[in-house]
Amino acid sequence: MDLNIPELVARQQILLCCGSGGVGKTTTSAALALLGASQGRSVLVLTIDPAKRLAQAMGLDSLSNEPQPIDISALSGVANGGSLHGMMLDTKRTFDNLVERYAPNEDVRQAIIDNHYYQHISSSLAGSREFMAMERVYEIAVDHDYDLIVVDTPPSQHALDFIDAPQRMFDLFEGRFLRILLKPAQALGKRSFDMFRRSSERSLRFMERLTGYEFLADLADFFLAFSDMFEGFKERSERVRELLGQPNSSFLLICAPEPASLNEAERFFQRLSGENLPIAGMIVNRVHVAKAPDSPSQATTDAIARLAAQIDGDAGNGSLGERLMLTNREQHELAHADAASIESTEVARNGIAIQRVPLFEHDLHSLEDIQAFAGKLCAQ
């Protein structure tokens, strides 16, 4: 089944592009956003750490945590009213904003911002980036009035970390570990962790043995300060989850035809289906295509041989005719390998719409290049 990308871009409010890195996910996101803008919609593309070149291609020196307008007026075929904004996720800033929003007072806010452990998790360690990406999407969806938001999700090592990360954090907040850790201080109504040493909890003593006292103390202080904000965080995260599950949101699997990349797409597919999240389709970039029939006719082979004989060949590099036929055969082999890899995926077997995008042989340097890529993305 083919994937109708123009229709998808015209209809949806949120498109989330998932996939491992290096498969053209950021470029695809930019192209989808540009396509939406060309249709006359107001569109935002949120990217995670894009290559500088892509930001430059969109006419920006760099992207920031706030939406920036991208000038598409020079492009042809843009419908009236179409506009494009771009932004890049700043994990720490987003986390700080969230603390700002939910801290009950200035003391708590400062205590969190100064906490060692907070500085550690809010910068860029695994998990927090995924959490904050979704938080930012929600913020934008609520505070702004875009017709379409295209999200280039973080290239996680593990499928759907951006959905799992908040849940893991809540499990921690609600779990026994924290109750045990915080009990001594809470019992005394204290906002510090110095009572911890007298705790008789075996699991705590055990943790201390592994990690040392200082670390647990920092951790407890952090969670104590955080506990007041927890409800706000949790409610927000539930709303993010709702937003992703609604009919106007769609997930797109982005991959390349190599086995490793298709495997990764497969895992995304399984997880998304398991979570009942809406998958619009799979986009396979960099697909090799063969335009001629599998084995050239005798007439063609002869014609190639005659043609090659008329041309001053490169001496010592084998006959030109042979090299031409070899190149043709290789193109078929590459195309067959790609087609077979794609067909063998569970995604294909489940009838998910697939769009194959031919290998694009040059880098993207301008909005026009992105527009040309968008054209390939939509070609049937």
């Binding site: 491992s20 452990y117 360690l125 695994a126 996680s156 893991r168 043609l307």
Partner: protein, 318 residues
């Protein structure tokens, strides 16, 4: 199979370190390069371990061997395993904490799992801890001459490599500090560990690769090896040939397509050579690995062809 001649540019060599950490932008064929390196190292008579970063047991996509936390032998001289933070932690505790059976309920229970799942950096630290044990042979298992770590992609790998140091700085004292420093020290030992970055001859992949190399070398001060540029195709046509072919007058549609394909091949290889030449002006240490094209995809052929191209770069014998 075609295009598998050992490329001409493989004069750089891979430092004879025990631990080789293979990373690169996603989609550049890290796994193929790591596997080929491991296969060639094993063929050179070195006892070799290929270890990967996976949360569950998997069948190795190129070797076809099951990969679990326990070491498994895949070929002569070649073992495979995966790193797993929770199992590493359990193993570590069993080795260091007396009366550990008393604590298994904690280790397996929800309390600790919730903590470790949410603690940023925990997973990375524990996996590197296991890597440390494998290098030192401190888990009482066999000692390996070469350990190849098929590491996460660029961004995640950079975070991972700095986790021990960041953890040590966050914790400041105590056993976690000491262990984190121990892991950091082995990674920072230029004689023992080398980070290998894989790229494609494409603008963004090379840029990201160079940035990672610089980060590893300058900021982390770890050893980096040559950049491995993968999936290269050898130039086959001259510009003159392509020009004449395109001017040729033909009404045969198939002939047109074949000429177009030759032109595309020429454009691709020219582009690749351009990026390679440019890269060589910035770094003299470059290794080339080929795009392997085969009538039907066979992982064995892929590994053999890539291993052959890497052979000159790997020191033989013990």
């Amino acid at each position: 199979m075609t295009d598998t001649r050992p490329p001409s540019g493989n004069e750089a060599s891979i430092p004879p370190c025990q631990l080789l950490i293979v990373t690169g932008k996603g989609g550049v064929g890290k796994t193929a390069v790591a596997t080929a390196l491991a296969a060639q190292s094993a063929r050179n008579g070195k006892k070799t371990l290929l270890t990967i970063y996976e949360r569950e047991d998997v069948v190795h996509p190129l070797l076809g061997t099951k990969v679990s936390y326990e070491l498994r032998k895949s070929r002569p001289n070649l073992w495979v395993s995966r790193l797993d933070s929770r199992l590493s932690m359990k193993e570590y505790i069993h080795r260091t904490v007396p009366l550990h059976l008393l604590y298994d309920w904690i280790i397996d229970g929800k309390v600790l799992t919730q903590f470790t799942d949410a603690a940023p950096g925990f997973d990375e630290l524990m996996c590197l801890g296991k890597l440390y044990d494998l290098c030192e042979g401190s888990d009482g298992k066999a000692h390996f001459d070469t350990i190849i770590f098929d590491a996460p992609a660029t961004g995640h790998c950079a975070l991972m490599l700095r986790t021990p140091k960041v953890t040590a700085e966050t914790v400041r004292t105590g056993p976690l500090f000491q262990n984190a420093m121990r892991v950091h020290n082995i990674l920072a030992d230029h004689e023992r560990t080398c980070v290998l970055v894989v790229a494609l001859a494409e603008e963004m992949a090379i840029q990201e690769g160079l940035e990672l190399q610089e980060y590893v070398r300058e900021t982390l001060q770890f050893n980096t090896g040559p950049m491995i540029v993968n999936r290269l195709r050898q130039p086959r046509f001259s510009a003159g040939e392509i020009e004449q072919l395109q001017q040729a007058d033909t009404s045969n549609e198939e002939v047109r397509v074949i000429i177009e394909e030759a032109a595309a091949h020429h454009a691709l290889t020219s582009l690749q050579r351009g990026y390679l030449d440019n890269l060589r002006t910035k770094s003299s240490r470059v290794l080339e690995t080929p795009q392997v094209i085969q009538p039907t995809f066979q992982t064995g052929n892929l590994i053999n062809a890539m291993a052959a191209s890497l052979r000159p770069a790997l020191r033989e014998g013990k």
